[in-house]
Symmetry: C2
DNA sequence: TCAAAAAGAAGGATCGTTCGTTTTAGGTTC
DNA sequence: GAACCTAAAACGAACGATCCTTCTTTTTGA
């Protein structure tokens, strides 16, 4: 295929990214060989190396894309007006994160949770990717802090706890639920929402600061 | 050193496990070479292969040990009497999990959070280890469900949400906080506790089921 | 027809592991 | 108690396998 259209080139690149992401979600970045990826995308080495300079660039492209998607979903949820309560906020994020790559399924399970925890381990050993997730997280946290301050200003939440701590905790809830889905299999987002509503119903814990 | 004492053999095995765990926390299981481990523990290949039949067995031993420790910390916290509120419960788990391996530090950061998320990725590609984490999680969840039912029976929490959902959400909070510490660095456990107290103070969210 | 896309065999490097050798701790002998 | 002996612990060079990547050749589409 010579002198192909730009759409064809883009489609090839996406085909490689998707196939590689599937492999990486299954086996991790470094237990997956290039041969595994080549077999998955049904292309030769020469073809893949035309689109990516090497395995590292392929990994970086996937990690960056995943982090970008997640950041967007978190920030979109925080832009809701009026700011929804925590259970709805977290539920919306989880729904859009899991629904975003709805096509990517393996053994009946969404690939995304598995891919996300692989990404977490990869940012630990790559300064460039570490910077990406730091910046994204910082931005998301800022947006969610504002939502929490909205709760406090409206008298919906005690205001003697730092808004940042609450924002971090809500984000942690979503992250932990993703980890559970990756390890133990898919679960309805309602589980997480019910859990948050249960916690929210406990009332101001007396005089303990 | 021939005919050495059993204590020496045990110490050697532990030395290898700790050194390998440090390497794996830094770089992941499959981006860490045996040469890396040998250099870290300052032993030869022949020595290490006397204690472990191969890299896979070394990984399995570390993963199993980590999962066992975590399970014990979660179950010990649930055995508290009377059952503490969620913020104290989660705070106690985080404290003991992070304090347990207090000796293992790298660049001023506790190694354990990094090691834990590496473990999560490894159970995805090893059926044996998957069974271990499934069993441990099932047991922990059962213990925490009872605590939540205690909240509900005492009228501290609305009882129209499944206790299992709340238990899962509390566990997810701890898991997510571990992920945050691994990726973004250590943070006081108080952050997570404050966050939970903030959520708990929001009161019964009206008529939304 | 030809430039570009894809193919796929092969190279160089690194991996996990083995195995023949050396060193050592602790029991034995005088 | 000092010298010796021996089984085992540790060593480390080397092997085959596998990995990522390159590069020449073939195929393809405009």
């Amino acid at each position: 295929m010579a002198r192909v259209t730009q759409e064809h080139l883009d489609a090839r690149r996406r085909q490689i990214l998707d196939g590689a992401a599937l492999c990486f979600a299954r086996n991790g970045f470094h237990a997956t060989s290039m041969q595994d990826v080549l077999k998955e995308v049904d292309l030769s080495a020469g073809a893949v190396y035309r689109y990516f300079s090497g395995k590292d660039e392929l990994i970086s492209a996937i990690v960056t894309e995943v982090l970008g998607e997640i950041r967007e979903h978190f920030e979109a949820a925080a832009r809701q007006s009026p700011p929804p309560p925590p259970d709805e906020l977290v539920g919306r994020v989880m729904g859009s994160v899991l629904g975003g790559r709805s096509g990517m399924v393996h053994n009946g399970e969404s690939v995304f949770p598995r891919l996300i925890i692989q990404v977490w381990t990869e940012v630990l050993r790559n300064e460039e990717l570490s910077a990406v997730i730091h910046e994204g997280y910082s931005s998301v946290r800022g947006a969610w802090v504002k939502v929490v301050q909205g709760y406090q200003d409206a008298g919906m939440m005690r205001d003697d706890v730092p808004a940042e701590s609450v924002a971090r905790t809500m984000i942690a809830t979503a992250q932990g639920f993703v980890a559970q889905m990756a390890i133990f299999g898919a679960a309805p987002v309602e589980v997480l929402q019910e859990g948050l509503r249960g916690l929210m119903s406990m009332g101001n814990p007396d005089t303990r600061t």
